[in-house]
């Protein structure tokens, strides 16, 4: 249950696949144009409901409620071992390694 004025993320299909620009690559033409944005929920709702939000600029946007208190999950990713090999190599070429 999400409350009125909760900060939420919504999703909406802007153009269905059949309504898209005719000059698209085949793979893109098969899928709809989708949109996500965030805002203050305008009335109590459940995840999956069609809702209205007031965005950071005060616009009213409609869409499906997908997340309450949305947060970022991007990170520095899994370790990439090649990077330490680059470091070792560069220091050896330039400074002669650990001599």
């Amino acid at each position: 249950m999400a409350k009125k004025n909760d900060w939420v993320r919504i999703h909406r299909v802007v153009l269905p696949a059949e309504g898209r620009n005719p000059n698209l690559p085949e793979d893109t033409a098969k899928v709809p144009l989708e949109m996500w944005t965030k805002g203050f929920l305008q009335a109590d709702a459940e995840i999956g409901d069609e809702v209205e939000v007031k965005t950071a600029t005060g616009r009213i946007e409609k869409g499906t409620l997908i997340e309450v208190n949305p947060h970022y999950t991007h990170s520095y990713g899994e370790f990439v071992p090649e990077l330490v090999q680059i470091d070792t190599q560069l220091r050896e070429i330039l400074f002669g390694g650990e001599k």
């Binding site: 898209r20 950071a56 990439v80």
Partner: protein
Amino acid sequence: MALAKDYASVMGRNNEIMKNAMGLDYDKFESGKMSFDYEALMASTGYTIEEIMKVQSATGVGNTPILELRNLTALARKYAKPGYGATILVKDEASNPSGSFKARRAACAVATAKKMGYKGVMAATSGNYGAAVASQAAMQGLKCIIVQECFDSKGVGQPEIIEKARKCEAYGAEVVQLTVGPELFYTFLSILEDTGYFNASLYSPFGIAGVETLGYEIAMQCREKYGKDPAMVVCTSAGGGMMTGTARGLIKAGATDTKCIAASIDLTGLHMASDTAFNKKSCTTGHTGFGVPYAVDPDHSDVPRSAARPLRYMERYVTVTQGEVMYITEALANLEGVERGPAGNTSLTAAFALAQELPEDEYILCSETEYTGAGKHIQPQLAFARENGIEIKFGDPSVEDKPGVNIILPKDPSYIKTKDMDIVHMRESFIKKACKKYGSFDIDEDDIEFLAVETNSTPEFVKSTIEKLKK
């Protein structure tokens, strides 16, 4: 009566929406033929370069330091013939308030919007420009909406773009995120129409005039510190604004002997509007997917006439590979103690190779760095590539690189090379596209002269190209 908001109706009102959203009537620059008055468009900002510097410095933009990369220079000299290997310099544009040179572009646009009484600004961008507009809007008390192409149809976002969304939101902007496709422009126009905000287009004259200060500073700072202009300035090229503005600024400073080199990451074979290719890219900007189309056909952006016209100014256009850029980004952190974002290091990667063509007493300068952070860093970008089935290995990028299939990290720095694009072919391609758009090969002397300037060539070259195209 409410306006119809379907795709065709909104796109049909494009010219009208744009006119309201920029306070600029592009028709007055048109000749009625193929040509238009580019210099009049640039002058329409009403700002001199000194005034732009004032506008920028009022918000802490510009006057960034030039860093001398001593260890990377020493490294490049190891692979150059004796007496060769120019000193590599970089303009540390990451030290602008929003973390990239795009702050220069946004400063003038947002100041203009404010002066003209707009309540908010909008920009369509998945790049650093969003944060730049959002940062400027925050400083000047305007509202801001950024529209991004961010996700594929499975809802998987590019980590680099998600980070840029976070930064826009940190500055108080609203971010509208979309899946892959050129109809982003429709969503952009539709919101622009509803809000009546200013279109802070990347390609407006305000934006490009804002970059002129960068070229101007490069000349002034190099003269003060080194007593001469750099032999080469290397610009990472996507939409062409960096190359255009920097070159114009260098010319305004009288640095006419400095050669301007465009550099992009080679992403040949990855279709830019393809849903499945979207997350096969391991760098989302500074690549040929933007660089080449915008060089040979600048007028397909979100304004009727783009102020970014890079082919006018570039002497060469070189490419490097994703793996080489990742390697140099790591080298910059590890050998220079300067950690910056990968895409901005495209020019540095090219400069590392190009420095080896120049004598030791010359200077080669990269026109930018950009900020780095979660998602927008070699570690997550390489990790994301691996998750998407891209093979990452050491090798020879010049023979093994296949964008979307692998990332070849150079097995040692001697494998970092630039490839020159066929610039003559690009000029021919420009002329061909211009004639096609115009609907005829029969053009008069004015238009021939215009095409010669547009392609940094000569009227004779334009005429002989048209003769060839007619056959």
